[in-house]
Symmetry: C2
Subunit: 227 residues, 2 copies
């Protein structure tokens, strides 16, 4: 008698994870490393990308997938950087969702020049809750947290801060003008995600940007070494 | 023959709106005016409330319903103001939702001292997308938009800006330190919500807060006049 052992894989029931894995397979097949970049609205994701991509990232060829509820304001800002930018709106066809999910990113795959890039940065919708709940096929996650948002954000949105490999603390130039203690913010971050890598920057002045550039380049080279 | 004309009311199918109307009926029965206060994370809703409620609001008795994914950090901050504060978390029992909906607020009704207040301020979860989509039984909506979030937010999150009767522009004290033109922000706001009432404030310094206090008091007295 032939017996088949059936393993129940819990998250096989989760359609989003299934599609995220399919995305990941496609990215892998094209040798593309994917970073899911998240933050609250106005924390500075696009300004950070403008700084990071202002000059070539070693020999890494970068593409950007811009997630927004509607419009292409950020994509237009990045268009001058001479990197391929693809706009993905959650408003048209996806019900105005507050986050990207794997199926939305899958719908954008045919528009992405996967053979011509090594790194895809997916700029998610500005939101500290739902984007953290949906894998889209990324290798790593990074987030931007502005000092103007207050010291308490890691405590109030722990899933987001916990799910990221890098937390960029932005708007460092405003620190003298706000009632925020950077050490206290980092203490709260460490409480929800002990040991997570952080970089403090001012995307406005450019301070700290080199370290973020090195992180992006390392994400690509680390992955190439593993593969 | 007795004929009954059946009217199909489209949004009767919308469970949220049905429950929001039930909430509204309960608030009406107790003579409570309800303001749904929304913003991005860290825009300053709680600091604004600390300022607005630091002194009695004429003879208006105020209560606060604090919406958060988890924790009671904001409620703890408001506890010193001697107004009744009720915490409503979307994380426990509601799947960590990124917004309040009518059913969540309904679940909090038994905990609210409706007979002892004239005005209930519902501080929604920090998010510029989904909170705008869910009525919770409020009379009016107000939002806080910080100048540090950039000039483009009304264009990127138009539903939120369009659904509010008052837009409080916060962190005016930081305006000299950011690359944001207030006129341009107001121009974008007017493009998505022509004629909406605005107040520019610094919840940190207290500038402009009197005007916000007057708005809250007027919301209550206007409603009393209508009723």
């Amino acid at each position: 008698m032939h017996r088949t052992k059936v393993r129940i894989v819990e998250d096989a029931l989760d359609a989003n994870n299934t599609i995220a894995r399919a995305n990941r397979d496609d990215f892998d097949r094209h040798g593309v490393t994917v970073v899911n970049l998240m933050s609250a609205p106005g924390a500075g994701k696009t300004t950070l990308l403008e700084r990071v991509l202002a000059e070539p990232l070693d020999d890494v060829r970068v593409g950007v997938l811009e997630g927004d509820v509607q419009g292409s304001y950020d994509a237009d800002r990045l268009a001058s950087l001479h990197v391929p930018v693809t706009q993905l709106n959650t408003g048209a066809g996806f019900g105005g969702e507050c986050h990207l999910d794997a199926n939305m990113v899958r719908s954008a795959l045919p528009a992405l020049p996967l053979d011509e890039i090594d790194l895809l940065v997916i700029e998610n919708v500005g939101n500290l809750v739902c984007p953290a709940e949906f894998h889209v096929g990324e290798d790593v996650r990074a987030m931007v947290c502005s000092v103007t948002e207050g010291e308490d954000k890691p405590l109030k949105y722990p899933l987001m801060f916990r799910s990221c490999e890098l937390v960029v603390i932005n708007k460092l130039d405003l620190l003298p003008h706000v009632d925020v203690d950077l050490d206290r913010l980092l203490y709260h971050l460490d409480a929800v995600h002990p040991g997570v890598q952080t970089v403090a920057v001012s995307a406005r002045t450019g301070a700290g940007i080199d370290e973020v550039r090195e992180w992006f380049a390392a994400v690509v080279s680390d992955r190439a070494t593993v593969a």
